[in-house]
Amino acid sequence: MTDQKGTRVRYLKQRLGFRLLSSMAILTILPIIAVVIYIVIQGAPAISREFITGFPEDGMRAGGIWPAIVGTFYLTLGTAIFSVPLGIGAAIYLSEYAPQNRFTQMIRISIINLAGIPSVVYGLFGLGLFVLFLNFGTSILAGSLTLAIMTLPVIISTAEEALRAVPQAFRTVSISVGATKWQTIRRIVLPEALPGILTGVILGLERAAGETAPILFTVAAFFLPRLPNSPLDATMALPYHLFVISTQVPGMPIKIQYGTALVLLTFVLSMNIIATVIRSRARASRQW
């Protein structure tokens, strides 16, 4: 009889534990849902064709945000051009070639530390190095380079992880049939790791697209009602524009602020969704 009772108590404890854990899991998704719903409700009334494709008017209190959208797009693209080849190259070196020694150790520590630097420090660094010292001026070039440095650690560490996840046996087999190390990497390892690498790239770029501090001193224009036509032009960008209209302009209609936030959120979340789709597709097709 006591045995039966003990069993019942244990089952009760198990059910209680399960409830507790599942409610914690639900709690974690509440904030994101709340944010999205709030921004959509507040921002949706502002969304129109003119808002997306128009230029700001009346001291940004009316009109659209097209220059900021284009600016963020260019900045994301520029960041990708600089950070993706470098990041993937570094990841290949670390995963496939680097010996275990002090030098490699130092590279890894640097990457970890790079990821920990506050983004506003990157902004100041970009101002010093790219804008002033290299004389790029406040430009898309300077901003992209600054964002690229900030994005590198994310891309390197996720790409390296993806490369390491490719079974060692594939490499051994490839080498054993007469492939060189590079042929093995190019034809077997990289294709297998590609979905994981892409996920990292997108997550890194998404962060770059949403950052304000690094572009504050390096590229972002307070108000520039035309589109940039060279990498050496300054540009407006969504995150900075949002900061400006939320804090710097008196008499700003609320719906324009939330409309801008909604556009930025959509931009970033859709990149996130693309990354998730790539990852889950790759997982489904993975057969080892």
């Binding site: 594939f170 051994t172 087999v173 054993s176 049939v177 007469g178």
Partner: protein, 251 residues
């Protein structure tokens, strides 16, 4: 043993890994052409290590000490000047766990050929025929190789090696994960293949060693204990340790 018929000559081979695990101690062994030479003994005896030296796959791991000489015909296998890519095309390897590359059945065969710059469509069918797999896969060559059964995958791995038309085939417990029927098929293929190739097999059991060996080498803790034609070694072992192992008293 007929010295003229020798394919691989191993002299005073010593090997130590950096983590101090398995090693080879002063191994001298002549492996004849057109025969199945079986390397057997308890785990950790140095069998796989020896196999990996023969096509320089040991380059991929941390080896702290490698001395002695290995010749494939007249080629100095261990010389730093040796073209390891060419060597690995002459000496193919089949691993214990069937590892098919993440591509189609056909591409698994043609991968090594493409890398070697060989364009020869006939080799696909020939190699699959020799590995006794052609009939089972000829209508599904574009399917992913992982959709094959374990036994089929291991025969595909054999075919992948055969497509490169090597001279020597190394097999490291190729049937350890296979059922008896698949094992039988692989062993049959090997018997047919020895006409054209030199085969070095690490068997997964003493029984398989006895079934397949033309010559048998018994390895224990990195040492070559006894080497003799298979029919002699298994019926009349000269060393007490060989006899004990063959009769199942340890291992």
């Amino acid at each position: 043993m007929n010295k003229n018929n020798q394919k691989i000559t191993i002299q005073n081979l010593i090997l130590h890994y950096s983590d101090g695990t398995e090693s080879l101690q002063d191994i001298s062994l002549d492996i004849p052409a057109h025969a199945i030479t079986v390397i057997f003994g308890p785990a950790g005896g140095g069998k796989s290590s020896l196999l990996r030296v023969l096509n320089r796959l040991n380059d991929l791991v941390d080896v702290v000490k490698l001395e002695g000489e290995v010749y494939l015909d007249d080629l100095d296998v261990l010389s730093p000047k040796t073209d390891v890519i060419a060597l690995r095309r002459r000496v193919g390897m089949v691993f214990a766990r069937p590892v098919v590359l993440p591509m189609s059945i056909q591409e698994n065969i043609t991968y090594g050929l493409e890398i070697a710059g060989i364009k020869d469509d006939q080799r696909l069918e020939d190699s699959l025929e020799k590995a006794a797999l052609w009939e089972e896969v000829k209508d599904r060559l574009d399917d992913p190789a992982v959709t094959l059964s374990g036994g089929q995958q291991q025969r595909l791995c054999l075919a992948r090696v055969l497509a490169l038309e090597p001279e020597v085939i190394l097999l490291d417990e190729p049937t350890s994960g296979l059922d008896p029927i698949s094992t039988g098929k692989v062993e049959e293929s090997l018997q047919a293949l020895k006409e054209d190739y030199t085969i070095v097999l690490v068997p997964h059991s003493v029984q398989q060693a006895a079934r397949t060996a033309d010559y048998a080498a018994f390895f224990l803790q990195g040492k070559l204990i006894e080497y003799a034609p298979g029919n002699l070694l298994f019926t009349n072992p000269q060393d007490q340790r060989t006899q004990d192992y063959v009769e199942g008293r340890f291992g």
